[in-house]
């Protein structure tokens, strides 16, 4: 059961997950001279480390995946596929977003950009 191993995995993997990602900077060619820069980061977190990170985060929030079947392709959701999806997400999304370097004096975060564009009109 994944739920039973949560604590163990937290202990085993928490430090690894918190370790600084190894970086290898590379500038995307299409971003040269643009307003943004993309920093590519390489990371080699294992499935086990990512599972630990995922389950620790969910446990912190009080979200329990153990109520799902462990591995049942016929079920609407199971732990295996949820974790697989989460690992894929973590390997792609946060690194790509954080690799985008923005000017500190660049735009402030905007939740509703189209509205902001109108408010900016003279």
């Amino acid at each position: 059961m994944v739920a039973q191993s949560k604590t163990e995995r937290e202990d085993e993997g928490g430090r690894s997950t918190l370790s600084i990602l190894t970086e290898s900077m590379r500038m995307s060619p299409d971003l040269r001279n643009s307003k943004t820069k993309l920093r590519q980061e390489r990371h080699e977190l294992t499935d086990e480390e990512l599972n630990t990170y995922i389950l620790a985060r969910l446990q912190q929030l009080g979200v329990d995946l153990s109520v799902l079947p462990e591995d049942d392709g016929d079920a609407p959701a199971d732990q295996r596929r949820i974790l697989a999806s989460a690992r894929r997400f973590l390997r792609a999304t946060p690194p790509e977003i954080s690799a985008l370097e923005l000017d500190a004096l660049g735009p402030a975060p905007v939740l509703y950009p189209s509205e902001m564009s109108v408010w900016n009109l003279e």
Partner: protein, 567 residues
């Protein structure tokens, strides 16, 4: 402080006060069931002063063929009664709903009762018009499930602002339509069993009905309803419109109130119509649009223009007079990529014989060739109508800022909305659980950076695309729905498969903030010169495969597909 700034300030403060009223109710795990004050004006246009356009009504033998404008005119003339019109739609529902599965609630009795009580002499533009409302709109006293376990027993005690405005304009609630669970995918049960089919190919499991508003789309395309409402976070108005030969408008963020619509993503949810043509879409949008103190996103915006005037092109020979420039991105006339969607994904995951794969690839190629040809023909038609077609370049950072990772910035918003439900029992999310879990895992640093990137993306679109043109063709709803820009979708042709069954091909045009009127003008002009929007699918008995005559076997979507292709 300028006049606009002052108005923004005052209205936002008023809105924040109103919003504060519901804060206690939102604490905990309950979606608020408290109605907030709903303004009855929309920037000058009230429900009472929207005048129906005076058009020549087509002669039809089946009243379900009428557009809502046509039906409303005939009702006022006394040539058809609201009861007759409503009954005509209910009869089609009786005949074909078993195949289409477009509704999850059908209001036979109350719809007819409402129709009996219509007074057409009252100046209500939708008096006696039955409507299909997506099941994430609150409808007072009528179950609102969003096709989810979470809300399977939820009955709101007030109407969503958008539906309240349609109702106040005389609209009749015909039914609530099927949708993806919590608006994530094409319509399925909470466990992922496909429900709604494409009205043009009801027995073809590999033909998607579109996104999460596919119930409304199928209801309208199949003539089980004259018009419907949808919501779009990632394509769910424009995709089903294109998939089923309809005209859909995804308005600019804030143009239509989201109050009383079950939220998916605060910053990207939009309400809009799925209609038979641009004129119907304009009428629906005219009614739904405008400020609402219960939704601060609607406040401080430019006044709602006259959309009906925008589509009244009065048979002008060249209604799109220059300098209207329609931008075309360089790859628009290239052969499109293979269609994405859960059906395609499932096909890839399954082991197929090589021959079947080749056949599928051939069909895709044929459709892509037809799509490219239809796009080229559309551009030629628009040019003949007076538009200037200009090639525009994608902004420099387009590829990066529109990647799926930046699209995923939306996910924490849904996770936050539904956090208490996630804590309660993740099984309530059924097949759509994955994006909610992933949203919990995106750190705040990346969320903030993603929001900054979104504004940069919008700025680049405005500065690098819309300085070259007034509207731009799009091959997908993304990224315009990501940054809140308006989109119109409309049919531009058909592709016919080897069995001779036609399937719609659609186009999308994007515009600048609050330029829905311009987009509607383009769509209306195009529809004046073409008749794709008038075509209707054959009834299912003409499309049923030769072999089995029993009910079709429903397909399923997979949890991983929801993350990959859901909105």
């Amino acid at each position: 402080m300028s006049e606009v700034d002052r108005r923004v300030f005052v209205e936002r403060m008023a809105s924040l006060s109103a919003t504060a009223m519901i804060s206690p109710a939102l604490l905990g795990s309950q979606i608020s069931n408290t109605r907030l004050p709903v303004t009855q004006t929309n920037g000058g246009y009230t429900r009472a002063n929207i005048k129906l356009p005076q058009i020549q009504v087509r002669q039809v033998t089946d009243p379900t063929e009428l557009t809502i404008v046509e039906a409303a005119i005939l009702i006022r003339r006394g040539e058809i009664s609201p009861v007759e019109l409503t009954q005509a739609y209910l009869s089609r529902i009786d005949d074909w709903e078993e195949v289409y599965q477009a509704f999850n609630t059908i209001l036979y009795e109350s719809a007819l009762e409402s129709a009996r009580n219509v007074h057409p002499q009252r100046d209500h533009p939708l008096a006696g018009i039955p409507l299909a409302i997506k099941d994430n709109f609150f409808t007072a006293g009528v179950r609102t499930t969003a096709n989810s376990f979470i809300f399977e027993d939820f009955t709101p005690n007030f109407d969503a602002t958008a539906w309240a405005r349609l109702r106040d304009a005389g609209g009749i609630l015909l039914g609530k339509t099927q949708m993806g669970p919590l608006a994530t995918t094409a319509a399925t049960t909470p466990t992922g069993t496909r429900t709604t089919v494409n009205a043009w190919a009801p027995f073809a499991e590999n033909v998607s009905p579109g996104g999460s508003s596919s119930g409304s789309a199928t209801a309208v395309a199949s003539r089980m309803a004259p018009c419907g409402t949808g919501t779009q976070t990632g394509g769910s108005i424009t995709n089903p419109s294109n998939a089923q030969g309809l005209t859909g408008i995804k308005p600019t963020m804030g143009r239509v109130s989201l109050h009383g619509v079950l939220p998916l993503t605060y910053t990207r949810d939009h309400v809009g119509p799925l209609a038979r043509d641009a004129r119907d879409a304009a009428l629906m949008l005219q009614i739904m649009a405008g400020p609402d103190p219960a939704d601060l996103r609607t406040l401080g915006l430019p006044s709602v223009p006259d959309y009906l005037a925008a589509v009244d092109i009065s048979r002008q020979k060249r209604p799109l007079r220059k300098p209207l420039r329609i931008g075309v991105l360089p790859d628009y006339l290239d052969e499109p990529e293979h269609e994405t969607g859960y059906f395609a994904a499932r096909e890839e995951e399954e082991e197929q014989r090589d021959r079947e794969r080749e056949q599928r690839a051939q069909r895709t190629h044929e459709r892509n060739v037809a799509t490219t040809a239809a796009r080229g023909e559309m551009l030629r038609t628009l040019e003949e109508l007076g538009a200037e077609i200009v090639e525009v370049q994608a902004p420099r950072d387009w590829t990066t800022l529109t990647s799926s990772s930046f699209n995923n910035v939306r996910l924490p918003e849904r996770s936050e909305i539904f956090l208490e439900y996630l804590r309660d029992d993740v099984r309530q999310f059924g097949v759509s659980l994955s994006p909610w879990i992933n949203g919990l895992l995106l750190p705040a640093t990346e969320y903030v950076r993603g929001q900054r990137a979104r504004f940069i993306l919008l700025e680049s679109i405005l500065e690098e695309i819309f300085t070259q043109c007034d509207a731009v063709v799009q091959t997908a709803p993304y990224p315009f729905d990501m940054v809140g820009l308006p989109l119109v979708a409309f049919p531009i042709g058909f592709e016919t498969n080897s069995a001779g069954v036609p399937r719609p091909i659609g186009a999308m045009l994007g515009g600048t903030p609050y330029s829905e009127d311009s987009l509607l003008t383009i769509a209306a002009a195009y529809q004046q010169a073409t008749d794709w929007h008038l075509r209707r699918p054959a009834n299912p008995d003409h499309l049923r495969p030769d072999a089995p005559s029993g009910p079709r076997s429903p397909g399923r979507i997979d949890l991983l597909d929801v993350m990959e292709f859901g909105q």
